[in-house]
């Protein structure tokens, strides 16, 4: 214990001139700001090699995707259990809010990027199904006392009625292990209709232009190496009028909550990772990557730069999570 403190002290003194801004800032929420989001994303210092951040580490850009893949491959089996344990079940509420804000209508085509174990897609199909039920009930009620005009138009239209397009959800994830776990979940829940699983990279989606009504990416975009490319791809595959929605961990505005949140993140989450999933390092990466992600306003500007309109964000749980939304016009 004493040896480690001495080692620590020596390191701190040696690097204190580099860290003085960071430690003086105090509030943990700002601990990543000394890197500055734009500089840390690509700093071309070592011989033309572009480097980026992997948590608090700096790695070459080519390495980051591989390391992230490794992390999610390791945690895939216990992913859902860990989410419940770390957020005390609150992540379910966040995802429910996403669906309520989305308010999809029957016939909507959803692309769920970094969908992994399928949480958003399952909720989407459930929502759309209940919307469909509601519409049918409403139609049945309104048909209680039909007029002669209604009856005759019903006869003529029933022959060549265009069946309403079924809502479909496509789960796209770069990690095959996560997709496997998601498929297993779907099979055990008995959800198969309207769901497909595709392995693909958010920076280079394997879909045609103008295909989807809604594009969601929940807790995935901070793991992407080039966020702007992912946003460009999102714009490409959405139909005109389509909606981009992103759930992601963000900056907590309240300073007291921020310190509690940081204490919880850095002390409890890796411990939970070790005890439940047997993997400390992956969950250390998780909490560090949250700190490196741009804050609400900056991410909003990034989405606007990619070409989306009417971009707004909603803070959930005091800013722990932010829901960003934009439209392609």
């Amino acid at each position: 214990m004493a040896a480690s403190m001495r080692l620590l002290l020596r390191r701190v003194i040696r690097y204190s001139h580099r860290d003085i801004n960071v430690t003086a800032a105090g509030a943990a929420g700002r601990s990543g700001c000394c890197w500055g989001p734009s500089t840390c994303r690509c700093s071309s210092d070592d011989a033309g090699d572009r480097s980026t951040h992997f948590g608090f580490e700096t790695v070459p850009e080519t390495e980051k995707a591989k390391k992230v893949y490794k992390v999610f491959e390791n945690v895939a089996q216990k992913y859902d259990t860990m989410n419940d344990a770390m957020s005390l079940g609150v992540h379910r509420l966040w995802k429910d809010v996403l669906l309520h804000v989305m308010h999809p209508q029957p016939g909507a085509q959803l692309l769920d990027v970094a969908g992994g174990t399928g949480d958003i897609s399952f909720r989407f199909l459930e929502y759309v199904r209940s919307q469909q039920e509601r519409q049918k009930r409403r139609a049945a009620r309104s048909m209680q006392t039909p007029s002669w005009g209604d009856i005759s138009s019903n006869y003529s239209s029933s022959e060549d009625e265009v069946s309403p397009q079924e809502s479909r959800a496509v789960v796209c994830d770069i990690n095959k292990e996560m997709l496997r776990v998601g498929k297993q979940k779907a099979d055990s829940m008995g959800v198969t209709a309207g769901l497909s699983w595709v392995a693909g990279d958010a920076e280079e989606l394997p879909f045609d232009d103008d295909r989807f009504d809604i594009y969601t990416i929940a807790f995935g975009i901070r793991n992407v190496t080039h966020i702007d490319q992912a946003l460009q791809e999102a714009l490409r595959v959405l139909k005109p009028g389509g909606r981009f929605m992103c759930l992601e961990f963000s900056k907590v505005t309240n300073p007291v909550l921020s310190r509690l949140y940081d204490a919880y993140s850095f002390n409890m989450i890796p411990v939970l990772g070790e005890v439940i999933a047997g993997d400390w390092k992956s969950y250390q990466y998780l909490v560090e990557s949250i700190r490196k992600f741009p804050d609400q306003e900056e991410f909003k500007h990034m989405i606007e730069d990619a070409g989306f309109y009417c971009v707004k964000y909603y803070n959930l749980t005091g800013g722990v999570v932010a829901l960003h939304s934009g439209f392609k016009l």
Binding site: S4, Y15, T23, E63, R259, N267
Partner: protein, 274 residues
């Protein structure tokens, strides 16, 4: 009242996290491939933890190990987070013993890659090496299933912990205990008396809860007292350079260590992996 303590810890945490990040920055900016030789910490696999994190780990791993005793990684984490004083004790004992001191300097590891199984098989029956090989075969265990040490913040103590884990199977051979529940509990009692590691003590106390009445009786009347007595009076088992004593007769080794042969002969009836 808790808040200033928390805030103080948080500031310390910042130092740790930022210094770690900066150190790693040095490591990674020079090479993009992270091999075994380039690691973050005092030894490969080392993870820095604050005292609070260690406490939480000890609590969490304790609960997890109790719920599922087959989670050996949790037992390992519990041992590492609670064993600091005991490890220092053992290390000092090893330093004071000439053979133990050799072990601390040479740092031998017991792994399938370092063991010559053919040579062990060719040794005569009754020799330590042959009996160890027989133990591995009958109980279907392998020396490679030991978790690496992660949470010990001193590199020498981490080696002592690793050595303790690797010597565990050899202890089974020396004591003549199989890897079923009764055998494991008996070895735990011996280890608790020998090493003083809290994890061994916990295992020694809670292990018997899973035994049936007949085995409990055997434990409390003959095996248990034998294990405890021998644990106390035997020489420090971690100070023996086992790798150089494969050809030695097991009876000879027991006499040298001051261990009596077991009062009850147990056989490997339950097939379990360690």
């Amino acid at each position: 009242m808790l808040l200033p303590v928390l805030l103080g810890r948080l500031n310390r945490l910042h130092y740790i996290l930022i210094s770690k990040a900066v150190c790693v920055h040095q490591v990674h900016s020079s090479s993009s491939v992270c091999a075994d030789s380039c690691y973050d910490g005092l030894y490969p696999g080392h993870i820095h933890t604050t005292p609070f994190q260690k406490a939480m780990l000890a609590l969490g791993s304790g609960v997890a190990a109790l719920q599922d005793p087959y989670r050996h990684d949790m037992v390992a984490v519990l041992g590492e987070t609670t064993g600091h004083l005991a490890l220092m004790n053992i290390r000092d004992k090893m330093r004071n013993d000439p053979e133990g001191y050799t072990i601390l300097t040479e740092r031998p590891r017991i792994r399938l890659s370092t063991l010559d199984l053919k040579e062990l098989a060719s040794l005569p029956d009754g020799s330590f090496g042959r009996e160890y090989l027989r133990f591995l075969e009958e109980n279907l265990v392998t020396p490679d299933s030991r978790a690496d040490v992660k949470y010990v913040d001193d590199e020498e103590l981490a080696y002592v912990m690793q050595r303790y884990r690797e010597v565990h199977d050899l202890l089974h051979t020396l004591l003549g205990m199989p890897t079923n529940m009764l055998g494991e509990v008996a070895v735990k009692w011996f280890e608790a008396a020998q090493t003083g590691l809290p994890m061994c003590a916990l295992g020694a106390v809670l292990g018997p809860l899973r035994l049936n009445a007949r085995r409990l009786q055997s434990l409390f009347t003959s095996l248990g007292p034998w294990a405890l007595q021998n644990g106390h009076r035997s020489r420090c088992v971690l100070s023996i350079f086992y790798e150089r004593r494969w050809a030695q007769s097991i009876e000879d080794l027991r006499k040298e260590l001051n261990i009596e042969p077991p009062p009850v002969i147990l056989t490997a009836t339950n097939r379990r992996n360690i």
